[in-house]
Every structure is written in structure tokens, then in C-alpha cells.
């Protein structure tokens, strides 16, 4: 084997080793970060006004985009679903189709994606800018732990907001589906609501949707606060961190959704 080839192989192996070591190191840092945030959880709830403020910023201020998206997704779902159901003479089943699609999948996933872009990116940018402008360092020098004062309330604000936003997304989606299905297409209102009531169970359908949205809330909030805290203290660093939050949160939501769906609805799909 020539010397150049050996050196080339060694360089490739070094690069792979460096990448793996870096990834493992970052995973360890994220784990320690999560533990530190959980450690400060009692403090975040003891000073509830801090967490409530974050629920307002992450949740209440995301309402417009969540409710409008939910409404339109429900309307489109109703139109597309009716076209398919009609072919099999099952147009009256529209209510159950809309409700199950929203409660099981679209509600948690879509609201998670929207939450990541609207609130997650804002959390990262805010914490990153606080770091860039030395506000976090100033807190440390005032003997105030930024993890307790800044990070933990934002994390829990996101975790609490997410299932509520997903529930509202689904509710407005069902309302959108109703608007298209009943007054526009002309399906009987009793059939729409009756089929829905008969076909959607609180357990597992609604509960699993809530569990999914809670898990997405944890994932998005953790990624958002971590990326902000770990951002390079420059304009470019904050910009990259914000982009990473949206990309990684979206991928995490879709991957976690698949894994959870496999476990949650395995029995139902076989039947």
C-alpha cells in the first residue's frame, strides 16, 4: 500500500473518528443539559410567573397560526377525504375520517411543526441573543443561574403549551371539516357528528394524540433552549442555531411520530 493511500485512509478514519467523538460528546452535553433543566424544574414552578410568561409567549402568541392552520387543514382534509370516500359509497363516514386523522396524526404533527417554526425558533433566538449580548454572563456574575432563571421556565412553557395547541389545532380542524362537509357538501350533520362520536375513542385515539403532542413539546423545547444556550455568541452563530432548531425539531417530530405510531396503533392497523 502506497504512503499516499495510507495517509488518505488515516485521514478519512480520523475524520470519521472526530465526527463520532464530537457527536457522542454533544449527546452527553445535551443529556447533562436536560438533567440540569429538570433539576431546576421545582424552581420554575415555584416562581410560576416566569413559566406563565413563557406559556404566553410560546402558547398564546402561537394561537393565530395554529388555529388558522388547523381550520384550513380540516377544510382541505374534508374535501379530499369526501372525494375518496364517495367512490366507495361511504361519504357519510367523513366525520370519523376527519376526526381520526386530526386527533391521531395531523393535530400533534402539524402543530408540532408550526410550534417549532414559530415558538421554538423564537426561544433559540432570544436565548442566543441574551448570550451574545452577555446577559447570561451578567446573570452568572450576579450569582443567578441562567438555567434556573432563563432556560427552565422557557422549557416548561413550551412543554405545557404544546399539547394545548395540538388540542386546539384538532378542534379547529374538525370545525373546518364540518364547515366543508355539512354546509358545503351537504352531508347530514347528525351523521357527521354521530359517526365521529361512535368511531373515535378517548382511549387510545385522543390519549395517544395527547401523549404524542407532549413528547413533541419536550423534544422541540429541549432542542430550542439547548441550541440557544449553545449558540456561538455572534450574529451568524444565533442565525445558525435558529435554523438548526427548526430543522432538527422538524426531523425529530417526524421520526418520533413514526416510532410512537408503530407502538401505539400497531394493533389497530393489523385489525
Amino acid at each position: 500500500m502506497s504512503a499516499e493511500l495510507t495517509a488518505g485512509v488515516a485521514q478519512v478514519l480520523r475524520r470519521i473518528g472526530g465526527t463520532v467523538t464530537g457527536a457522542v460528546s454533544k449527546l452527553g452535553f445535551v443529556s447533562r443539559f436536560l438533567l440540569a433543566v429538570l433539576w431546576h424544574t421545582p424552581g420554575a414552578f415555584r416562581r410560576m410567573h416566569l413559566t406563565l410568561r413563557e406559556i404566553y409567549f410560546a402558547g398564546v402568541l402561537s394561537l393565530v397560526i395554529i388555529l388558522m392552520s388547523g381550520l384550513f387543514v380540516g377544510m382541505v382534509l374534508s374535501l379530499q377525504g369526501y372525494e375518496t370516500l364517495k367512490r366507495y359509497g361511504a361519504g357519510e363516514q367523513l366525520g370519523i375520517l376527519v376526526a381520526l386523522s386530526l386527533v391521531r396524526e395531523l393535530g400533534p404533527v402539524m402543530s408540532g411543526l408550526l410550534f417549532a417554526s414559530r415558538a421554538g425558533s423564537a426561544m433559540t433566538a432570544e436565548i442566543g441573543l441574551m448570550k451574545t449580548t452577555e446577559q447570561l454572563a451578567a446573570m452568572e456574575m450576579m450569582a443567578v443561574d441562567p438555567l434556573a432563571r432563563v432556560v427552565a421556565p422557557r422549557f416548561w412553557g413550551g412543554v405545557i403549551s404544546m399539547p394545548l395547541l395540538a388540542a386546539l389545532f384538532s378542534a379547529f380542524g374538525i370545525f373546518g371539516g364540518y364547515i366543508v362537509g355539512v354546509p358545503l357538501i351537504g352531508i347530514d350533520a347528525g351523521a357527521f357528528w354521530g359517526q365521529m362520536k361512535a368511531g373515535v375513542d378517548f382511549w387510545p385515539d385522543v390519549t395517544n394524540g395527547i401523549i404524542k403532542s407532549f413528547v413533541f413539546g419536550v423534544a422541540v423545547s429541549l432542542i430550542a433552549v439547548f441550541e440557544g444556550y449553545d449558540a456561538k455568541p455572534t450574529a451568524e452563530g444565533v442565525s445558525s442555531a435558529t435554523t438548526r432548531t427548526v430543522v432538527m425539531s422538524s426531523l425529530a417530530i417526524l421520526a418520533l411520530d413514526f416510532v410512537m405510531t408503530v407502538f401505539m396503533f400497531r394493533g389497530a392497523s393489523v385489525v
Binding site: A36, K131, T133, Q135, L136, M141
Partner: protein, 289 residues
């Protein structure tokens, strides 16, 4: 930014006992301190003493390691070797709780103020009081107004940081730094980017507050003229080493080439104008193909 060594900032009796300062010891002492970022040396063999009640300036060009010294004193960084003592306590050896307890005795003014942008001027100054004391809101209000009055900005209490000029923001940050009547105040480039009037105001405030409140001040700066007017002693840092020191009178009379270059503002000297590079002629005529 790294995580705190232990995720807690709760106040314990052990922590309070562990950071009891020695009243006879110097406010700050650095003994043969060296510090690296990875393998890049930043500080080498720094030894300095900052007596109680004095204003000491640490001067040097940008990137000479001045701010690193402040971070070592504040315990945000740990030295590679040497000792960093505050009030006789070895800062790197303190447990996280004791370090947080010690920081309650510090005030720090950051280069651009580092005011919390989501809080008003009033809230910024009340912040350390609310975090560390159980004082009633009426008393906090009075104390905040007193601190703001001391820096001449009582009328700006309701403003947000975005509404302040650079000089006003620096004064608010100064009021916040002295909010809990600290024993030691550290100033990181307090004069950077200020107009001549604000510069004079901030300089006089540093001197006046130091004397009135009997605190110790460490001023990291490269503003020679303003520093010579207000400080008691100066250290010059270059390339991570102390290259000169003295009282303002000694510095003015100094013939040291580095001190002279700094005071005269000469472009070239011990601190070279050119960053290290190959020979100019050779590089111009080098074969780039």
C-alpha cells in the same frame, strides 16, 4: 458556554461559611497565573495585587488577555496554573455554591452594559435585589431610586434599555452593579464607544462610587487618559504578560517603550503594526500558480 459544575444555586450555610472573606487580605491577588484556551496561551505568569478600597486599571491592547483576568477573578474561568484569590479565598477551589455566594459580593459592568432587554431600567436594577433578598417591594423601590439617583438617571427609571443612549446604558449597568453594595466591582471596558461627555461622567462615577461606598474597583480598559485621571494603580498587559505597572504619576514619567507607545498612541513599537507575515517582497513576487 459550559454548564454549571453542579446544577444548583441554592444558598446553604456551608456555602456562606465557605466564602467568608478575610478582612486583612488584599481584595484580589493573582499569583503566577497562566491560562490557555485549548493550546493557545492567553495569560502567562500574571502576578498582581489589588488592595482594598483602591481603583486598579488593567490596560493593554485588544486581545491581550485583560478580560480573561476579570473572568478568572469572577470564577467564570479556571487558571491552568497559579492562584486567584479574592479576599483571601482561592476562587478556583470554591465549590459551585460557595462561588455563587462569593459572586453576591461582586458587581460587574460589562462592555456594553448587558442590561436585560425585556426589563425596564427600574426592573434591571431591582433584579439582583429581588433574586437575592426578601426585601419588601416598597424598600426595593426606594433602593432602586437611590441607586439611579447616584448615577443621575432617576428620571429614566421607566425607560426600556433600547431607549437609552450608550452612556446612559453604561450608567444604568453601573447602578445595577452596585445594587447589592458589593465589596468588589469589575469594569470591562467601561469607556468603550462613549462620547467625551459620557466618558467623563462614567469615569467620575467610578471614582466617586468607589470612594463613597468604600469598594474596590478593577477597571479593564485601553483608555489611557481617562484611566490616568481616576485610578490609583495601573498594570499594563501585553501578549498575556504584565509588561509594566505603576501609579499614574510613575506611568506618566515612564520611559518604558511599551508604556510610551500606549500613552503616545504610536502605531508601531513593542506592539507591532503588522501581524506576523512572510517577507513582503517575497510574498509579492511569489509564484502563485
Amino acid at each position: 458556554m459550559s454548564l454549571p459544575a453542579k446544577p444548583s444555586s441554592s444558598r446553604t450555610a456551608e456555602a456562606i461559611a465557605a466564602c467568608r472573606v478575610d478582612p486583612a487580605a488584599a481584595a484580589v491577588e493573582l499569583v503566577d497565573v497562566s491560562f490557555n484556551y485549548d493550546v493557545r496561551p492567553i495569560l502567562t505568569g500574571i502576578t498582581m495585587t489589588i488592595p482594598r478600597g483602591k481603583i486598579v486599571a488593567i490596560m493593554g491592547a485588544s486581545g491581550s488577555g485583560k478580560t480573561t483576568i476579570l473572568r478568572l477573578i469572577g470564577g467564570q474561568l479556571r487558571p491552568k496554573s497559579g492562584q486567584v484569590r479574592v479576599g483571601g479565598l482561592s476562587v478556583p477551589d470554591l465549590e459551585p455554591e460557595a462561588l455563587y455566594e462569593l459572586r453576591r459580593k461582586f458587581g460587574m459592568l460589562f462592555q456594553f452594559g448587558a442590561l436585560f432587554t425585556d426589563m425596564s431600567v427600574f426592573e434591571n436594577i431591582a433584579f439582583p435585589m429581588r433574586e437575592h433578598t426578601e426585601l419588601p417591594e416598597e424598600l426595593i423601590r426606594d433602593l432602586v431610586l437611590m441607586k439611579l439617583h447616584a448615577v443621575g438617571l432617576r428620571g429614566a427609571a421607566h425607560l426600556m434599555p433600547a431607549e437609552l443612549s450608550g452612556g446612559m446604558a453604561r450608567r444604568v449597568a453601573l447602578a445595577r452593579a452596585i445594587a447589592l453594595d458589593p465589596m468588589l466591582v469589575m469594569y470591562d471596558e467601561p469607556f468603550a464607544g462613549l462620547d467625551p461627555i459620557s466618558l467623563g461622567v462614567v469615569g467620575q462615577l467610578i471614582r466617586r462610587l468607589n470612594d463613597v461606598l468604600s469598594i474596590t474597583s478593577v477597571v479593564v480598559t485601553h483608555d489611557v487618559y481617562e484611566s490616568l485621571k481616576i485610578v490609583d494603580y495601573l498594570y499594563f498587559v501585553s501578549g498575556g504578560r504584565i509588561v509594566a505597572s505603576g501609579t499614574p504619576e510613575e506611568v506618566r514619567a515612564s520611559g518604558d517603550p511599551f508604556v510610551r507607545q500606549f500613552i503616545d498612541g504610536a502605531a508601531d513599537g513593542p506592539v507591532p503594526f503588522h501581524y506576523p507575515a512572510p517577507v513582503y517582497r517575497e510574498e509579492l513576487f511569489a509564484d502563485v500558480g
